[in-house]
Symmetry: none
Subunit: 180 residues, 4 copies
DNA sequence: TATGAATGAGTCTTCATTCAT
DNA sequence: TATGAATGAAGACTCATTCAT
């Protein structure tokens, strides 16, 4: 039923009509209200879930094999390919639209970039020690890298031949230590 | 009066009420209709203008002094600092929202990434010849670079301390030829 | 199951949701429809029953002991104390709401004040002969007395400390022959 | 525009559709929202006004000529004849319906019967001293009298041939000192 | 030219009623 | 017989657009 994510992600909170979600889910409009109190609540729930899963996703990097750079490369690949697209788009709407319920706004404020930096910092520092990663301040490196990634995912590049999703190796240039 | 751009850029076409534009412009709602036939027309006009200006802006790169890399760096800096922010956001809404008038959709389809690639290709090729730029296929390099830029601008990073706008030098790593 | 009366009486026909009746009765919503064709039918049935019982109740006055005034006093006391409250409230909704099913409206039109007057007239005439009751035209006396009573019962005075239910003796002043 | 009172009074808050008020007022539904934030607000406003006017009305009794009994008789006549009907009906809905906005509920709780008793008590005491009024405790006398009146007005007797509005003289028997 | 009152189509939400289990 | 999930029609409310002034 949370495939309402699909509609919200593409159209934002106002652009989405409950009837769209309903027909996307293959049920009647009325039934939606049996499961979700309101459009706002539904949206907020999705935002919450998006944030939770994103954190889990980021943390999973430590389970990946290989060197720090290997890990980063794999996670990046995953993010780029996988369905996380919708989450990025949803979060973008949640961040930028003014019609977002206050509850959702609060959720977002609590879950800042800092959260992700804290998770990734040890890995990046290790990567720098091993000489794999560029020597910029890790905070900045991470923050910029995630911003770049967010931007790319938000564009909804798939299905738009105008934009081109950069290959992972290209992206990694930002953080890789340029061969001396 | 076209400071309606401000509202459309931030809130998208549905999120924007004519009354918002009116009060932002300091006039009455009714007066808007003396200058623009409809909300859709107004939006379409803005999109048209955004595209026109973007092309002019890109072309202006050839007026800039210095080597190809210098030119690219300066243009990038300009884009990042200047008010082009709003254009990127507007175009993002125009590209992703389904409520956009067909006329605007058509405009966008006509003005593809190809347009920009064609403009920039000679410059990039020159840069590669001079050994400044990475050796990837110029088309791909340009397309990816513009995608990255679009993504960053779309995020509306200003006013959100969570994201961090990468420094220009960091961004350039993407296209610079790594020191051998 | 007819304790749906409770809900209808308090909330009127529109204010009452079938789910309220169901939970008041301790059954599921769906089950209600096994016993009553529709909300309207249920309401109509209750109105019918209310009217029937009111007539029986009024007629029972002749079974009471004592003089005409004694009888009237006892019946009044009964009405004031007993659960007839709900019937008065139900009938008030039935009389004043426009959403009442036509069938119920018809029922009410057939069962006019005249019905009650016809029942009580002999008793009042007797009371007047015996010098207990005021000498006004019996029709008027009865009609006014019942109107007063209806009004009081309709107010739903219980549970509202603002109103005060008059003592029976106070009420009787309306019809008692003032001591010469 | 407050002739919305007419519809609310007859049909209660749920039974009333904004479109009814609109067509009763001869305007479009949308226009209602230019003057009143919402149905609830409108209802609350009417309740407020009803209470204010009722107090003014009651207080005006001291401007009337004649003995206390004369004053009471005139006020009663006025209440019975005049358009206060709608106010009584409105207040009844406000008191008994559960769908009434909290703000309105609060208003009602603040404006108790006590308010009216305080206003009328001096008059009734004077009337008792002059031997015109029954010797019951004035509080009780007033409270019961007002309850009776409220009940009668709430019934919406006009337009229902079944009920009969008692003549004023009949009603006064309730408070008049029976001739010794 | 400028205003803002007025309209009505469109969206969210509720709830009587049905129906598979 | 009993449940409660599912449907869809109806009502509150918003807002693009018009129009009298």
């Amino acid at each position: 039923m949370e495939a309402a994510l699909k509609v919200f992600a593409r159209r934002g909170i106002i652009g989405t009509k409950m009837s769209m979600i309903a027909s996307e889910a293959g049920v009647s409009t009325g039934l939606l209200y049996r499961y979700f109190d309101s459009k706002d609540k539904l949206f907020t729930t999705l935002v919450q879930q998006a944030m939770d899963e994103s954190i889990v996703g980021i943390k999973s990097i430590y389970q990946l094999p290989g060197s720090p750079l290997d890990k980063i490369k794999m996670l990046t690949t995953e993010i780029l390919n996988e369905g996380s697209q919708l989450y990025f788009m949803l979060m973008h709407h949640a961040r930028t639209s003014d019609e977002v319920p206050i509850t959702a706004k609060k959720l977002i404020e609590e879950n800042t970039m800092k959260t992700y930096i804290d998770i990734l910092e040890p890995l990046f520092i290790e990567g720098q020690k091993e000489g794999e990663l560029a020597a910029d301040p890790p905070c900045e490196l991470i923050s910029c890298y995630l911003s770049l990634l967010s931007g790319l995912m938000t564009l909804n590049i798939q299905g738009d031949e105008n934009y081109q999703m950069p290959k992972v190796d290209l992206l990694l240039r930002f953080i890789i230590r340029s061969s001396s």
